[in-house]
Symmetry: C2
Subunit: 224 residues, 2 copies
């Protein structure tokens, strides 16, 4: 599965959270990272190139910091130019339908603001409705939104967990079960050039055994 | 009351609905029409000028065609540049709070698409949540959204009604009662250079009488 990450951040190099996320993808061969602000400093989107990018990947991810409850403007320009072209062409529409679509959003304020009674008063799911409508229009398979609140204030341990979750979001199967995560982790450990697989082997075996135990329990519950 | 209409349409001259709306405001002295795509063909917003515009008006209206369930990208760029500057300045924040904020949106597809079970599956109010959150952030008084679906397919009579409603939305009191509309209409007829007030006088008198009758009935109902 090939993933296209369309990153819309006016200053990626100055963003600690963006740098952190991208550091987790350096070894990924099936992932294309596309920085729209770097590619189009004058804001003129090349629609031909962009459509080719979209068509040649299976999962499309919009990755951005939340600016006024939406993506920075250049991602909207990308939508205005690229999506309109796709929508006007039946062949493109057919090829786009069924692709997976995700959102990775970094948020400066705290999670509790994004609920009824919070300072924003609206949930992130509510604010992302225009993207949901877009996914519906093109027949995309909308993944649960990957939101990261107040990256700067997280502990190192929490950040590491975020990074693994992010790697899974970008490269793992959409359906997130314990079994799918275990399989994903095993494949990544085996394929890694930098990790010592021998050291991790006992941990992986343990994880798989736990996984089987839980599946057996689930089966027993289902039988009862 | 001074109204600023920020129009974000990449081709205002080619848009029949935009031309139609704007034709209804030619005599309005308290209304400023600001075409962002004309003002900033290169997309570089002058934040100083924009903040002055915002601060010197009482009602701010975003007027745009719906592109991918949101405004065209240059309005988002305007938000990214101008709102961020306002948010970083306490004095600006104080002066902006309490202003009225409206949205005039033209929609190409039919109204029934914008509901559960429709092809979009989401209402316009849901799609406009990012603007609602913006209004909350700045303490703006959010007006009911003025939506115009499929302008091209409307009858001439319906279009005329839309135009009067639009004029009221831009220049009338936010609270839309029969009394406030009658007062608004009277003032506009009296102030008009082109209408023959003598001809309209009997109609206005009739309207006022009807209005008083309804108010009397309301009072009677309240007393009962």
């Amino acid at each position: 599965m090939k993933t296209l990450i369309i990153v819309a951040h006016p200053d990626v190099k100055g963003s600690m959270s963006q740098q952190f996320f991208l550091s987790g993808l350096e070894q990924e061969k099936e992932v294309t990272i596309h920085q729209v602000y770097d590619s189009y400093p004058e804001g003129k989107i090349d629609k031909g190139k962009e459509i080719e990018r979209v068509l040649s990947h299976d999962r499309i991810i919009f990755q951005f910091p939340l600016y006024w409850y939406s993506a920075p403007s250049l991602l909207k320009e990308w939508q205005d130019v690229v999506l309109s072209e796709i929508a006007s062409n039946d062949s493109y529409m057919t090829r786009v339908a069924g692709k997976e679509f995700g959102i990775v959003v970094s948020i400066g304020s705290k999670e509790t603001s994004y609920q009824a009674g919070g300072s924003v008063g609206l949930s992130l799911s509510e604010l992302m409705k225009p993207y949901q409508a877009m996914a519906t229009y093109f027949g995309l398979d909308f993944m649960p939104i990957f939101a990261n609140y107040q990256f700067m204030y997280q502990t190192e341990q929490a950040k590491k967990q975020v990074l693994v979750d992010y790697q899974y979001y970008v490269t793992g199967p959409k359906l997130k079960t314990l079994a799918s995560r275990t399989k994903w982790l095993r494949e990544r450990v085996r394929g890694s050039q930098t990790l010592d697989a021998n050291l991790l082997a006992p941990l992986l075996t343990q994880l798989e055994e736990n996984c089987e135990t839980i599946e057996d329990l689930n089966q027993t519950l289902a039988d009862m």
